[in-house]
């Protein structure tokens, strides 16, 4: 177990190292002079020179990267060109809001996904099952930003139950979280449904039925527990996806999270901030993936054995 966890952490560190190279190189990929692009066409040569020096772009590439990494280890992600504040402070100010949105969205996804998955499996091959399948395909086909607009049109504009995107209170959180939740629930629903269908055909379920156990008990106590292992993994991965991928929804609802920060940075070509958010999101994504893998191996030791056998 220790070896597995250690290997996973080491490979994660390697990937994070790679993401740091990617985020560092972002500024160097820009066609033309990045400093001119950041400052705009009206910038004077002195301004260009000053910013070039400030960003360290006048040094050799390897020296720049060494400096970049050394700064990162000291918690220095650079300074935002737009606000003049440290990039890490900007990120850490916004991150809790993204976490709040992602966790609440995931909660909704789990409730919808697992309930519909159980329902579809219990009524396999009936109209209920087919409707759930259509819901799952619709969930991955509908643009999340359109779903967001629809929810605002119905619940904020028509019914006036919720405010139209302008704060961080619990009521402001409901619509964006529902949007994220509905989209993310489709994967959980499919996995739960397929797992349940497989488990429900097992001998021990037949025995439980033969003993005259209640349907509810069979579904929740005997079947669901065995289905939950892969579902928990996907839930973890969904959380990682939601923390990094809620950019568009944050923008629609004007939610002050990492997504809006990243978008604002792209619009204003604030490259230190873009580099910082990309790196931060990469680190969060990789860390959650590692945690999910470790959690999975703890719940189901066959995973670790599989790795050993493969190697």
């Amino acid at each position: 177990m220790k070896q597995f966890i250690l290997n996973r952490i080491l490979s994660g560190i390697l990937v994070i190292f790679g993401v740091s190279i990617f985020s560092f190189l972002l500024i160097h990929f820009i066609p033309g002079d990045p400093v001119r692009i950041m400052l705009g066409i009206n910038a004077t040569p002195e301004q260009v020179e000053r910013l070039t020096h400030h960003l360290g772009l006048d040094k050799p590439l390897l020296v720049q990267y060494g400096q970049y990494i050394a700064n990162l280890f000291q918690g220095d992600f650079g300074t935002s060109l737009k606000t003049g504040r440290p990039v890490l402070t900007e990120i850490l100010d916004r991150f809790p809001e993204t976490v709040k949105l992602a966790v609440f969205g995931l909660l909704i996804a789990v409730v919808i996904g697992i309930s519909l998955g159980i329902l579809a499996a219990r009524f396999k091959d009936t109209i209920i099952d087919k409707l759930c399948t259509v819901f799952a395909t619709l969930g991955v086909s509908i643009p999340s930003f359109w779903l967001a607009i629809l929810l605002v049109m119905v619940f904020s504009v028509k019914l006036a139950w919720f405010p139209i995107a302008n704060g961080t209170n619990f009521r402001d959180l409901i619509l964006p979280a529902c949007t994220l939740g509905v989209v993310a629930s489709t994967m959980i629903m499919r996995l739960t449904r397929n797992g349940m269908v497989e488990v429900l055909s097992n001998d021990y379920i037949r025995t439980a039925r033969a003993k005259g156990l209640e349907d509810r008990l069979i579904l929740f106590r005997h079947a669901l527990r065995n289905v939950l292992i892969p579902v928990v993994t996907v839930i973890g991965l969904q959380l990682a996806g939601l923390l990094g991928g809620a950019v568009i929804i944050e923008q629609v609802f004007n939610w002050p999270g990492l997504g809006t920060l990243a978008l604002g940075a792209i619009m204003s070509r604030d490259f230190p901030l873009i580099q910082g958010t990309v790196l931060f999101m990469g680190v969060v994504y990789v860390t959650i993936n590692i945690l999910v893998d470790i959690l999975y191996s703890v719940i189901d030791p066959r995973v670790e054995m599989g790795v050993k056998e493969a190697s």
Partner: protein
């Protein structure tokens, strides 16, 4: 979107049938599946509408009707007009061209580079495989929309750059899937036999690898079209893709969002159009997956 559903690996079914026979076999299996036929038919009609947009659309997409600003759907403007009096139906019809062309080109980037990287990794193996796959791992460590945003940040906002960004952002996932499928083929007897009689690498890749991954390529490419449509629309929606007055569905949705309170049709119809097309593409992808990998059907 739940992209992880796409990344469900499909087991390559190795066969030594000739490419011609394989193609005929594929088509027969596809046209036997009702779901696939209905989706293909729907997408065919949509494509025809896009191709013949100048004939089908009632008005020019940029023609302004100053006396019909923000008009609700009526006999003259079936889907209503927008804030500067342009006919929404005509813009939607022309939007098919933009949306489908851009998405298909984005998928073409993913397809060619992803297939190339995947096949080379599986076939060459060794350090080439290791280096390329580690690079793919690094790119996969970022959510694809963040990767696409980073690329647009470098290239600047425009429809072409959004297309490149969406295409490139999907390469890592695609390459990984193709590599997995190709590894199964690599270990098959007939590839080993070809190698032992001295067949050239390019012959083995063209005549043995490609025909055997065709089915898988078809499934993944179809599913990635859905992702490309959604992602390009998303980039346009936030102002990093198509720029007004281009009649692109994502841009139209973005414009419509500002008039939610008094012109519901502006944000409704482009959304329905995107959802219907992506739904058909995904349903077709699911049907193809069931055809080429019956074990994965749920």
């Amino acid at each position: 979107m739940a992209k992880s559903e796409i990344y469900k690996p499909i087991q390559a079914r190795v066969t030594s049938k000739s490419p011609m026979k394989l193609r005929a076999d594929f088509l027969k299996r596809i046209f036997k599946d009702k779901r696939a036929v209905v989706c293909i038919l729907f997408l065919f009609i949509v494509s025809i509408v896009g191709i013949f947009a100048p004939i089908i659309a009632p008005f020019d997409p940029e023609e302004l009707f100053y006396d019909s600003i923000l008009e609700a759907p009526n006999k003259e403007h079936l889907l209503g007009t927008d804030a500067i009096g342009r006919d929404l139906l005509s813009r939607l019809i022309y939007g098919v061209r933009v949306t489908l062309t851009v998405s298909l080109l984005a998928v073409a980037i993913t397809f060619f580079l992803g297939t190339f990287i995947g096949l080379v990794c599986a076939y060459v193996g060794g350090w080439v495989d290791n280096v390329l796959m580690r690079i793919m791992d690094i790119l996969l460590a970022l959510p694809s929309i963040i990767l696409a945003l980073a690329i647009v940040a470098i290239l600047g906002p425009s429809l072409t750059n959004a297309m490149i960004a969406v295409g490139v952002a999907s390469i890592p996932g695609f390459a990984r899937l193709i590599r997995g499928a190709a590894l199964t083929i690599k270990s098959s007897m007939f590839v080993e036999a070809s190698r032992s009689i001295g067949s050239s690498h390019s012959w083995i890749l063209r005549r043995q690898f490609l025909p055997n991954v065709t089915g898988i390529l078809l499934v993944y490419t179809t599913l990635f079209i859905g992702v490309a449509i959604l992602d390009t629309a998303a980039l346009s929606f936030i102002g990093l893709g198509a720029q007004p007055p281009t009649p692109e569905w994502g841009t139209m949705l973005s414009e419509g969002r500002n008039y939610m309170q008094n012109a519901w049709w502006l944000a409704t119809f482009p959304g329905i159009a995107i959802t219907m097309v992506v739904f058909a593409v995904n349903f077709l992808g699911d049907a193809l997956r069931d055809i080429f990998d019956p074990k994965s059907s749920g």
